[in-house]
């Protein structure tokens, strides 16, 4: 029963949240503030889904795929539990953060409702066992995120970013749809398991073309090389909570799509996996280089050094890392990638949320105006330092563990040894470059002297502080003892293949 609940609860919740918003005036008459109701309900809902996702695995009978009907459209296993838990946790943090962040903004109910449809769409993508379910979920979350990016609809930039995102993402979706159509037309099925066991795949000359179509389609959302033009605009103009969700969940869905296609649906033959994983690894490396160089370009800009834009480019770098791990083509590589998805969601999520706090305090996204804000508020300084160090892959933070796992995995990957060495060295060089960018941010926000006008201390709103503290604590716990979580992920990937 829980399986449909995970999809239905957010949708039903979204409906209720919209209803509250619609009935705002009537609720006001009977002395109920619909904003408070929305905040409360959204938080309970988010926490509920997170707990449900965690609990679902321990409930007997669900561990076994066979309990589902044979002509099912969904599957549910440890991997799905882990990914949905990560997404639900991030949504919960964003919603908790929104209590202060979205205070006194109009259309609160719609905002929360869209977040929950986003979550529902992502869960569908993760739980899909065939391309068509995946596509339905894909469109659901994509539509929600277009609207969320343009949530500050009075700002011209937000609408423009949303439109850009819409065009590029729709192009990607049409590629995916084309791929699905071709797959069905040629192989007669869109089911992952059927495709995996089909012998027609190895012999058909069009297989490479279909994989390429899927990689392009998913790659647009996964912010691969030059397909990511939408990403910096959308991230920097969306509300900060939405940037956190975009960076923490939405782009990861693209990586998941690539993995599902190349290594699962078309992964039946080792030849295909081996040759396409080489391509995917190099795609990841090139993406990392692109992201890193663009991060450095930001510091040279004369008009505005946009903090959120830098974080957005850094997301590109980490997506490169994740795709690189997937490209290793082994169980370990995929597990390491999923662990990196977790630590990157936490690290980048906390930084984007923190950017919301800072921007609300000083009213600008410009890094130059944020000079020394870490001194005015040590809380901001500490959260920022831990978040940046985690992204940079420094020990005692989760980012270090996941970086280590990805690198070990690439080395033990599918390719020839020279290629492995080259990939590892390029990956670590990129990690060091990225660290350079993070330290530059750290210099601006913590080390530089504040401008004379803002000497007084900053007050951090209480719910924003709680959300950030939880995330930072999780980052440190994962850094000190990653083993348990990582073993679960390994187990999850192992389950898939047995």
């Amino acid at each position: 029963m829980i399986l449909p609940l995970i999809l239905i609860i957010p949708l039903a919740g979204a409906f209720l949240l919209t209803l509250f918003e619609q009935l705002k005036r009537y609720l006001g008459k009977i002395k109920i503030d619909s904003d408070v109701l929305n905040h409360l309900f959204a938080n309970i809902l988010a926490l509920g889904i997170f707990i449900l996702a965690i609990l679902s695995y321990s409930i007997a009978g669900l561990k076994n795929l066979n309990t589902l009907p044979p002509d099912r459209l969904l599957e549910f296993d440890l991997l799905q539990v882990i990914l949905i838990s990560i997404f639900a946790f991030l949504v919960w943090m964003a919603v908790l953060f929104s209590i202060n962040y979205m205070k006194d903004k109009g259309g609160l109910g719609y905002y929360y409702a869209l977040i929950f449809t986003l979550l529902s769409g992502l869960s569908t993508v993760v739980m899909a066992n065939n391309f068509f379910t995946l596509f339905v979920g894909w469109e659901l979350f994509a539509l929600s995120s277009y609207a969320l990016v343009a949530f500050d609809r009075l700002k011209r930039g937000a609408v423009e970013a949303s439109l850009k995102y819409f065009i590029m993402s729709t192009a990607g979706s049409s590629f995916v749809l084309l791929g699905i159509a071709l797959t069905y037309g040629i192989f007669g099925s869109v089911d992952f398991a059927t495709l995996r066991n089909s012998t027609a795949i190895t012999s058909n000359p069009l297989t490479g073309f279909i994989i390429a179509i899927f990689v392009i389609g998913f790659g647009g959302t996964a912010a691969m090389l030059f397909l990511n033009a939408w990403l910096p605009d959308a991230h920097s103009h969306a509300p900060s909570t939405i940037s956190a969700l975009l960076s923490g969940m939405v782009v990861k869905a693209g990586a998941y799509g690539i993995y599902r296609t190349v290594f699962w649906a078309f992964g039946g033959s080792n030849d295909i996996v081996a040759s396409s994983s080489v391509f995917i690894s190099w795609l990841g490396i090139l993406t990392m280089f692109e992201g890193n160089l663009l991060v450095f370009a930001q510091f040279w800009r004369k008009d505005i050094i946009d903090f959120k834009r830098i974080l957005a480019y850094s997301t590109t770098v980490h997506l490169g890392f994740i795709v690189l791990g997937i490209g290793a083509g082994t169980e370990v590589g995929i597990s390491a990638s999923i662990f990196h998805i977790l630590t990157h969601s936490l690290g980048k999520g906390s930084l984007f949320l923190l950017s919301g706090t800072i921007i609300a305090a000083i009213g600008s996204r410009d890094l130059r105006e944020m000079k020394g804000i870490g001194r005015r508020s040590p809380f901001i300084g500490i959260v920022l330092t831990i978040g940046l160090l985690s992204l940079g892959g420094i020990p005692i933070t989760g980012g270090f563990a996941s970086k280590l796992y990805v690198i070990l995995a690439i080395f033990n990957g599918n390719h020839t040894e020279i290629m492995n060495i080259l990939l590892v060295v390029l990956a670590i060089i990129n990690a060091v470059l990225a660290l350079g960018g993070y330290l530059y941010i750290l210099k601006f926000i913590v080390f530089d002297e504040p401008e004379a006008k803002g000497e007084e201390k900053l007050k951090i709103p209480v719910f924003e502080a709680i959300a950030l503290i939880i995330m930072v604590l999780v980052i440190i716990v994962l850094g000190v003892w990653p083993t348990e979580v990582f073993n679960q992920i390994i187990q999850a990937i192992g389950n898939l293949f047995t």
Partner: protein
């Protein structure tokens, strides 16, 4: 029973400062208690380290435990679980290093009680100090490369924060420490590239990450070069030395931290990590390429850094350059590679003695700088022997150790050992460079000493340091002299690890008198040039060519300028050019996107 005791003690040694660091954060309200508590956690480590040293009998002892399961193999369907082992490894090298690290760190922490008493941000200072020591101990005692790398990174991180400790100061005084910290973390980060890649490669070769399982394998030459990056960056060798000590005119380096931090970095932690790594893998890793390149780099560094130490007028920078030079000395010893591993022992002995006398020198420098209001320029000192007679005496002991005067200092024993071993094995490169470096060392050490203490006071106001500083310096001075004698006697069997009939210290006339001659020559020349309180040599000032060369050295050999021009600027420039493609002007986005899409299709159709 004995085994468990040692294991337990090593766990306590590592965990005491690591846990203490986090507890000390909680004691923010009671500053005095926090300061003393922080020293005590390191002292606990020191006590356990001494007990370990006494109990340890010389035979290597691993204590491993399973750390995480990890399914291996490149086959997608493989489900065989593999276990990565981690643990502590006690052998003579790690036991000795533990002893050095804990005891010296304890003394330095004790010293900082007085030195940092006026600082406003002591809770940050104490947190990172303890974490620093804990990270270094983890690195030293680790049996597998993951723990080693973990310690390695913690040490790097803490050095970043400690070097940047004064960032809160106003203006330039705050900007430089911040930049220095960033520079240190980024430049040592280059070494992490090599180490991490090597670690992953080693796992592929043997399916184990234990250091003792290290063997050669395919592509070993290439991996040797990658691994070399790690000690070269961490121990600040030739091409990548400028994070530790840059030119006088650049002035962005690790010397921007508090002097106690410099002492910790130079004496026991951080830069010793690179030397320790080479010493640790040296018996197991026999690739000639590794040692040949290391020898050349170390040879360049030891002479180059000694020359730079002759030119700079910043007291701390003289010591920093001297550290680079002495570290290269150890590397040179490791590259001798004789069958009995005598070079390895000589290098380890020099590691021990250098740690002690460099701690003494840095803390003396700290005491001097502290007593003349944070002035580091030697041109403004002079004539200090009247105001600071105690420190005069202690620093003299340190300088004797640095120069390596035989018999009366530990540095003398170990330096003699290196030169003798090089001579016996016919390694002429190491021998010649070693003697040359001994000469230059004597020259700059005496120059520094004379410029500080002799001649006339050139305008520094002195207020005398109190007891804590004097006590610490006194203890260190005694150890400098005493450890030389101990090296010869009871330590010998523990250090060599096996009871073969080789005496570490034996007298071979030719190398002994050659090096002694070089040292005496250096002292004499230095006294001639600087004995009357001169700060400049007229010969160099009046000659255009020499003055030009001096300026090159004073700019740190233009290394920082080179890196800026070759690496930093191009990265920004390419990024800037690339960002043009993202402005949407002719809608590059779509063109490039289509290009990538077509490329994807072509490549995948061809290769699948």
């Amino acid at each position: 029973m004995m085994i468990e005791t040692l294991f337990l003690l090593s766990i306590i040694t590592v965990l005491s400062p690591l846990v203490g660091a986090f507890i000390s954060l909680l004691l923010k309200k009671w500053t005095a208690i926090r300061d003393i508590f922080s020293v005590l956690t390191i002292a606990v480590s020191a006590v356990t380290a001494v007990i370990i040293f006494i109990l340890f009998d010389g035979a290597p002892k691993p204590y491993d435990f399973n750390w995480l399961s990890w399914s291996a193999g490149s086959d997608l369907a493989s489900t065989t679980d593999q276990v990565i082992q981690s643990g502590f490894y006690l052998d003579t090298l790690s036991v000795l290093m533990t002893l050095i690290v804990t005891v010296l760190s304890m003394l330095i922490a004790f010293f900082s009680l007085e030195y940092m008493a006026e600082d406003k941000h002591r809770s940050r200072y104490w947190f990172f100090m303890q974490l620093f020591v804990g990270g270094m101990l983890l690195l030293v005692l680790a049996h597998d490369m993951i723990f080693l790398f973990l310690g390695w990174e913690i040490v790097g991180l803490c050095s970043f924060f400690l070097i940047a400790h004064h960032y809160m100061k106003k203006g330039e005084e705050g900007r430089k420490p911040a930049l220095s910290g960033i520079k240190a973390l980024i430049m040592t980060g280059i070494g992490d590239v090599g180490f991490l890649a090597f670690l992953a490669w080693a796992y592929l070769q043997t399916n184990s990450l234990l250091v003792t399982d290290l063997t050669s394998g395919s592509n070993a030459v290439f991996m040797s070069i990658l691994l070399l990056l790690a000690p070269v960056t961490k121990s600040a060798q030739f091409p990548l030395q400028s994070w530790l000590s840059s030119g006088d005119t650049v002035n962005i380096d690790a010397m921007q931290g508090p002097t106690t931090v410099s002492a910790l970095i130079h004496a026991a932690t951080m830069v010793k990590a690179g030397v320790y790594l080479v010493a640790r893998i040296s018996p197991l890793w026999g690739e000639p390429v590794f040692y040949v390149i290391l020898m050349i780099l170390a040879g360049i560094s030891t002479v180059g850094a000694a020359i730079a130490a002759l030119v700079t007028t910043d007291l701390k920078r003289v010591l920093a350059y001297s550290t680079i030079s002495q570290l290269s000395y150890m590397f040179l010893a490791f590259t001798i590679r004789d069958a009995g591993e005598h070079g390895l022992f000589a290098g380890q002995a020099h590691l021990l003695s250098h740690s002690i006398f460099k701690a003494l020198l840095f803390l003396s420098a700290g005491a001097i700088i502290h007593s003349i209001a944070e002035e580091r320029d030697m041109k403004k000192m002079g004539g200090m022997r009247k105001e600071l007679p105690w420190i005069y005496g202690f620093m003299l002991v340190g300088v004797i150790g640095l120069m390596g005067i035989p018999i009366i200092s530990n540095g003398g024993y170990s330096k003699e050992m290196i030169i003798t071993t090089a001579f016996e094995n016919g390694n002429w490169f190491v021998f010649v460079v070693g003697v040359l470096a001994a000469f230059l060392t004597a020259l700059y050490a005496i120059r520094m000493f004379l410029m500080i203490f002799h001649g006339k006071n050139r305008g520094a106001n002195v207020h005398k340091p109190k007891y804590i500083m004097r006590i610490t310096l006194g203890i260190l001075a005694v150890i400098v002299v005493a450890s030389g004698f101990v090296l010869e006697g009871p330590l010998q069997n523990k250090l060599t690890g096996h009871n073969e009939a080789y005496t570490l210290l034996h007298f071979v006339p030719l190398p002994f008198f050659v090096s002694l001659g070089a040292i005496i020559l250096g002292i004499g020349l230095s006294y001639l040039l600087y004995g009357k309180g001169q700060t400049e040599v007229s010969l160099i000032e009046n000659n255009n060519v020499l003055r030009f060369l001096r300026d090159v050295v004073a700019h740190g050999f233009y290394m920082d300028h080179l890196y800026n021009a070759v690496f930093v600027k191009p990265v920004f420039w390419i990024g800037n050019q690339l960002s043009f493609l993202k402005t949407g002007k002719i809608n590059w986005n779509m063109i490039l996107g289509s290009f990538v899409a077509i490329a994807t299709i072509v490549v995948l159709v061809v290769i699948v």
